[in-house]
């Protein structure tokens, strides 16, 4: 009997201990870690900044210990030193581009989004439509509006409000291995060092054929002419560009996809043809853009996709001895009209809504600081600066700035500014896979993409909070 009582008491104690454990835990997690008052007398505020890999180093990849978060750690430090409202700590975290939406969706639904996110605006536009971002109109002053061209502001304005503070832009082109082209006897197609070479469609087809047939196997074993990938949505902007090669406008005037026309199907057929002819890496359906980029750096591909940041990173890797050195140059994506196909990503910071007004205030102040501080904005040279003042100052050192500038008139808006763009990206690659594995004809795949894509856009339009 006594034993029984003892065990009853023991089990009660166990439950009480457990509940006490739980409640003390929840109490501690309930308090705001960032709200303590520091020794300086200022209130302590912690904010989180996430970014996808952009450039390495504070200003340059050649710095010691250069990494993707170097710039923001430096900027946070500089910001904290001069900020008089609060004692600020910025926690910087680099997240993989292909995991961005998963991470953000989980954290948004759990109520723990980061305060600041630094990324290409196109990939984040959906969060503005969903009402998860804070408008940044109040931190954009006249000086910034004057210094940054209106075109970039249009890119980051959704409805009436600005949701991203443009920092740099990142034009997408081809990169090619000039050594490989020369080795295949294609010297005449090689452009200048600081040129973005424009080939016609016929020339481009000749280059692919020449590389396939004449690339010396002993010097470049296991190498292919061009990168082609469709494993997931990464790097899909180039795939979108290829679909415009034969003159398709992609979106109609109402903002719906209109790719299943003659020109769009012709482009999809061209992709299938070069794939079947062995002008690209094999297995495009299960190769990712990351794989393709690595193959290009290992000289297994002669022509690959790139943007300003990737191009600079590739050069930095070569100089640091991390990848084989070769003569890397830029070329435009060709089109049947002879004009190049170019697009750009405006890269900048956005601020997520938070239940803590202080955090939102600090996050906005920080975004304004690193996006307008005269020293920090020079880091935008790692891609292409959006500020005319920075371009003017650095133009002489970076001759490619003017080459990119010359491309600007041929720019197309690849998102069409449609809502639901993130989900739309998930619809394209399965159709490309179907083309490459031969499950669908290019015509069928484009029709299916158009139908599915338009239903995504329609749904997103209905639920967008921006009218």
């Amino acid at each position: 009997m006594r034993n029984k009582r003892l065990s009853t008491v023991a089990s009660f104690l166990l439950i009480i201990a457990l509940l006490a454990g739980c409640s003390s835990n929840s109490a501690s997690s309930g308090t705001d870690k960032g709200a303590d008052t520091a020794a300086s007398g200022k209130k302590k505020v912690e904010i989180a900044l996430w970014l996808t890999p952009q450039w390495k180093g504070v200003f340059d990849a050649t710095e010691a210990d250069a990494d993707y978060d170097s710039f923001f750690k430096y900027a946070a430090d500089k910001f904290a030193k001069q900020y008089d409202k609060y004692d600020v700590k910025v926690n910087v975290q680099v997240v993989a581009g292909d995991q961005r939406d998963e991470l953000l969706n989980v954290n948004l639904n759990g109520g723990t989004p980061p305060d600041v996110f630094f990324e290409s605006a196109f990939a984040m536009g959906d969060y503005a439509h969903r009402g998860a971002l804070v408008p940044l109109n109040d931190i954009v002053d006249d000086a910034a509006k004057k210094d940054i061209d209106q075109g970039y502001w249009d890119n980051v304005t959704y409805g009436k409000d600005i949701y991203f503070y443009p920092f740099s832009h990142n034009p997408g082109t081809f990169a090619y291995n000039a050594d490989m082209l020369k080795a295949a006897g294609l010297e005449s197609f090689v452009g200048g060092d600081n040129e973005i070479k424009t080939w016609t469609m016929d020339e481009y087809n000749q280059i692919l054929k020449g590389l396939k047939e004449n690339l010396p196997k002993d010097k470049y074993p296991n190498a292919y002419p061009m990168a082609l990938y469709a494993l997931n949505n990464q790097g899909d902007t180039w795939n979108l560009a290829y679909l415009r090669m034969f003159g398709s406008k992609f979106f109609d005037d109402q903002g719906n996809i209109a790719i299943a026309d003659e020109k769009g199907i012709q482009a999809a057929q061209w992709l299938k043809d070069i794939y079947k002819a062995g002008y690209t890496n094999p297995g495009a359906e299960s190769v990712s853009s990351n794989d393709a980029n690595a193959m290009f750096q290992n000289q297994q591909l002669a022509i690959s996709f790139t943007n300003a940041i990737l191009f600079n990173n590739a050069k930095a890797d070569m100089n640091a001895g991390k990848s084989p050195k070769f003569d890397i140059r830029l070329a435009n994506i060709p089109s049947i009209s002879g004009d190049p196909l170019t697009f750009t990503y405006v890269v900048g910071a956005s601020v997520f809504k938070s239940s803590d007004a202080t955090k939102t205030e600090v996050a906005k102040d920080f975004v304004k600081f690193f996006s307008s501080d005269p020293e920090l904005v020079k880091a935008s040279k790692n891609s292409i600066p959006v500020r005319s003042s920075v371009v003017a100052e650095l133009k002489s050192q970076y001759p490619l700035f003017s080459a990119y500038d010359a491309n600007a008139p041929h720019m197309f808006s690849f998102t069409g500014n449609v809502p639901g763009y993130s989900e739309l990206r998930q619809v394209l690659y399965p159709e490309l896979q179907a083309i490459y594995v031969g499950e669908k004809t290019p015509e069928q795949a484009m029709k299916d993409y158009q139908t599915k894509g338009n239903s995504v856009i329609q749904k997103a339009r209905e639920s967008s909070v921006l009218k």
Partner: protein, 292 residues
Amino acid sequence: MKLLRNQTWKENVTGYLFIMPQLVLFLIFIVYPIIEGIRLSLYKVQYQQETFVGFQNYSTLFHDPVFFKSIVNTIIFVVFIVILTVGFALFVSSAVFDKNAKYVSFIRGSYYIPVMVSMVVMSMVWGFLLNPANGLISYAAREMNLSTFNLLGNKNTVLPVVIFVTFATNVGQAIILYIASMIGVPKDLFEAAEVDGASRVQVIFQILIPLVKPTTIYITIINIIAVLKIFVVIQMLTGGGPNNATVTMMYYLYNNAFKYNQLGVASAVGVIMFIITLLLSVPQLRAMFKER
């Protein structure tokens, strides 16, 4: 009568108190999420609001060919992986269970190593090997002039590859369980069979397999439930491709919840999976209660 009931209650209360902590955790972490999942499956979930939509999420599902593909793929995975696992584990265990102890330990160890390695690591290693552009297997195939060779890009070979990778990682567990169970079979039965002049095949089919039936049922149910939730291999190896050829229900759920941000539709998939799992567990539960 009242006194008796009081006494029984008093006797039982300690027992209830002992299971209380587990019960509380079970209610919070298992039952509540299930109820919440069922509720969400009837709502359209947006960042700022939830709207009741009745069975619209279910109707969306049943109009999506990819969902049906995911069901078919999941069934294919379950059937083949479970049959392979049970068959191969039975074969290996019945071949070695009565050999010398060191040999048995060696076999057990060898098959168990992959179980200990994380599924993510295994999938990545296979991913490296099978990468069509620069993977080792594709390279070897090219060297042998087998032209292009992309097991993951061909819808006829991608399912067998995923089945094999999952089976190779899982089978160790089943072998351990079978060997333990076979070692427990009374020796006199084998001796009697030997006296009667039974062959090894007869011993295995007439004595061993019937006597380890409870283990077979257990392994089958556990594997069915595990394979129903197959996700990691798909995410790491194929991303559901090519053209949704390897999308499973769990991967479809994940895509909807975290990539497309359709929490309501994802919850509906979750509810359907829950019902299927529940139905599959009924025979197992019935068998357990019958034994009592």
